[in-house]
């Protein structure tokens, strides 16, 4: 309860300059990693033109790295594109959130769409008010787009000067990017189970299946875990707020998987941490984490009082 006073108050509206500074910071940090992409793509055998076309036209980093990796491993173009596409699907859900915040005129949407990516979403969601959201989106989008393409070109051109990119350790850039995007998404047992199962599936698949296919097969980890949850100990039937999107990764300050709680998802994490299987399976659906009142009551019915109550308790603290 003492936490009540420690909770950050709603941030006051920030000046345009502050929003621009945030946006530029994220834009520069991420834009620069285009260099790693340029080198990786060139090292995978793509021409400079092909490499730059990817950054200009696809412009969503994880998909680009995935496509290049699949092509380098000898995958056929459609399998490779499928993996990249499925990774890009998350942008549709970012777009949903952004549409509500930005309220763009219909005519602008086809142009704004190209900038709907992890980084612009992170910055835009962090702003309060439409004006700040629009500035954040536009400045982050422009900065990342410009720098990502510029550094892609430099990386692609520089790759030949570097000689063997592997000698410089640049083959580790791709997986490091994936890991950095993944880490903030691993908050609940369900999410970790999906990641773990996906790793097992892909490692079993690599020696057995054609290149590019194992990654697609690993996507089945998501529905598989959803189907299994509640039946396997440790895989709660309710996953807190995961029905919502994972918070988009923040390249500047990645939310930490081991964080005890952050204000946005504190209730969910709190219940997850203390309730164990009891509180979460007992409450069924999302009631347990969504409404504190429902927690203890429903939990009591199935004899999971302590777990559910503690969950409700924490909920009050953050709520």
């Amino acid at each position: 309860m003492t936490q009540q006073t420690g909770i950050r108050t709603e941030a006051p509206p920030r000046s345009d300059a502050a929003v621009v500074r945030d946006a530029l910071g994220v834009g520069v940090a991420v834009g620069l990693s285009g260099f790693a992409f340029g080198v990786t793509a060139a090292g995978a055998g793509l021409t400079v033109l092909q490499t730059c076309a990817l950054s200009l036209l696809v412009f969503t980093g994880a998909s680009q790295f995935a496509l290049v990796g699949a092509l380098a491993a000898g995958g056929n173009p459609f399998t490779a594109a499928a993996g990249a596409f499925f990774l890009g699907v998350r942008n549709a859900f970012y777009g949903l959130r952004l549409a509500q915040l930005l309220r763009l005129p219909r005519a602008l949407r086809p142009f704004a769409a190209q900038w709907v990516i992890d980084e612009t979403t992170v910055v835009t969601l962090a702003q309060s008010g439409r004006r700040a959201a629009r500035i954040g989106f536009a400045v982050t989008g422009a900065t990342v787009y410009l720098l990502w393409n510029l550094t892609t070109l430099l990386g692609a051109l520089g790759a030949s000067a570097l000689g063997d990119p592997d000698a410089w350790g640049l083959d580790a850039a791709g997986p490091a990017v994936f890991l950095a995007l993944l880490a903030p998404m691993l908050r609940t047992a369900v999410e970790r189970a999906v990641a773990g199962l996906a790793v097992v599936l892909v490692l079993v698949g690599v020696p057995l299946l054609p290149a590019g296919v194992p990654v697609l097969v690993s996507a089945l980890a998501a529905p598989a875990v959803l189907a299994l949850r509640g039946r396997v100990p440790g895989l709660p039937k309710t996953e807190p707020d995961t029905a919502d999107l994972p918070d988009p990764p923040d390249p500047e300050d990645p939310p930490h998987p081991l964080d005890p709680a952050d204000p946005g998802r504190g209730g969910a994490d709190g219940t997850g941490a203390v309730g164990g299987d009891g509180a979460r399976t007992a409450t069924g659906g999302r009631a347990g984490t969504g409404r504190a009142a429902a927690g203890p009551e429903t939990g009591a019915e199935t004899g999971a009082e302590s777990g559910a109550e503690t969950g409700a308790d924490e909920k009050e603290q953050v709520g």
Binding site: G83, D171, L186
Partner: protein, 102 residues
């Protein structure tokens, strides 16, 4: 040629899903089952890609210096390092491990 096909298909697909999100009325994609899967599929893909690109070469599992680099990146993430530092650490440690003959 096949590279251009892959680029073209990926371009069209990735652009259309971006535009879809901005354009559809809220509610269409808001069904719980859809949202839950949409949240979990990227997790599966990113985890698989991390493992595959760290441990495999073509269709063989070949653990090498990348394991050290990506492991160092994981430590950097735990220490809340910024994105660019995480990638930089992975590259440098991999290069270092390789220079040492890993």
């Amino acid at each position: 040629m096949s590279v251009w096909i892959a680029i073209g298909v990926t371009t069209v697909g990735c652009y259309l899903v971006k535009l879809l999100g901005l354009s559809v009325p809220a509610g269409v994609l808001e069904r719980p089952a859809v949202k839950r899967l949409a949240a979990l599929v990227p997790i599966a893909l990113l985890a698989a890609l991390t493992a595959q690109q760290t441990l495999s070469e073509g269709t063989a599992l070949v653990p090498d210096a990348r394991v050290a680099g990506v492991g160092a990146a994981a430590v950097a993430l735990l220490l809340r390092a910024p994105f660019l530092v995480v990638v930089g650490v992975a590259v440098l440690v991999t290069a270092g491990a390789r220079a040492l003959g890993a």
